[in-house]
């Protein structure tokens, strides 16, 4: 399913290690917060469950996220030996079936 949520990737290489930071604009609703309009109800849970990182088409890391990850999650991993021009791809999916992927070139 498509999504209106933005995914942004930042990379920084220093001393042979590449930092990969991913920012997704996502509500990360836990399902425990009361509905502001109706106090007897709760805002339904809506959060990212899986996020995978691929370098040049090969999966290098897979993360499972829970509702305790903050709103608009900022997730970081590190890669060794990535070269400028290499392609990093991030794909995520949430508990409501929304998903997106974004690709960036390591500079």
């Amino acid at each position: 399913m498509a999504t209106d949520k933005q995914t942004k990737i930042r990379t920084k290489t220093q001393g042979g290690v590449t930092d990969v930071l991913v920012l997704v604009s996502h509500p990360m609703e836990t399902g425990q917060r009361p509905d502001p309009k109706d106090k007897d109800k709760k805002v339904p849970a809506h959060y990212i469950q899986k996020m995978t990182f691929s370098l040049n088409g090969k999966e290098v890391a897979a993360t499972d996220l829970g509702p305790a990850v903050s709103k608009d999650p900022l997730i970081g991993i590190k890669l060794k030996g990535a070269k400028p021009g290499d392609k990093i791809k991030v794909a995520w999916s949430d508990n409501k079936g929304e998903s997106a992927s974004e690709e960036a070139t390591i500079s």
Binding site: L21, E59, A62, L65, P67, P73, I77, K78
Partner: protein, 157 residues
């Protein structure tokens, strides 16, 4: 008299055979192990030990000084607590972050196949609690913890 159309029959049989073959090989490739299903039991567990058990199949952990936790000693905003875990161990397979006193302790779990033993995220905390990082390296579990104080009211001081 009706009889089964032979062409359709052959085509369907062949298609099924191909599907089975593809499914069979996919099942045993190492790639699939990494892209496993979201571990629901681990994320819904109410106790730290239960979550670790559901995630790694064991709770035998030894404390390690090679795991560095970078997190504030005091969180000004409990909904946005930055945490970084660096595991200086060989062959780091997975890192899990847990908050002991959250309703469901497991925050996130990352498994690596080529990436370094590092994971950072921002998390929500219900109250002042120990944050525990569990690192799987060479089939064994290592752990490190740090207390993060949550100030209700958000005045920092």
């Amino acid at each position: 008299m009706t009889h089964y159309p032979r062409r359709t029959f052959l085509r369907n049989t062949l298609a099924t055979a191909v599907l089975v073959a593809v499914g069979g090989t996919g099942l045993f490739s190492p790639h699939r192990a990494l892209a496993a299903e979201w571990p629901k039991d681990a994320f819904t567990a109410k106790k730290l030990e239960d979550a670790v058990q559901a995630l790694f199949g064991s709770t035998a952990m030894s404390p390690s000084a090679s795991i560095k936790l970078k997190a504030p000693a005091q969180a000004e905003n409990s909904a946005q607590v930055q945490i970084q875990v660096t595991a200086d161990l060989p062959n780091v397979e997975a890192i899990a972050i847990l908050v002991e006193k959250n309703p469901s302790p497991l925050v996130a779990h990352a498994s690596f196949q080529g990436a370094e033993g590092y994971f950072s995220a921002r998390m929500k905390m219900a109250q002042t609690s120990d944050v525990v990082a569990v690192v799987k390296s060479g089939g064994k579990l290592y752990t490190a913890r740090q207390n993060i104080k949550v100030t209700v009211g958000g005045c920092g001081g």
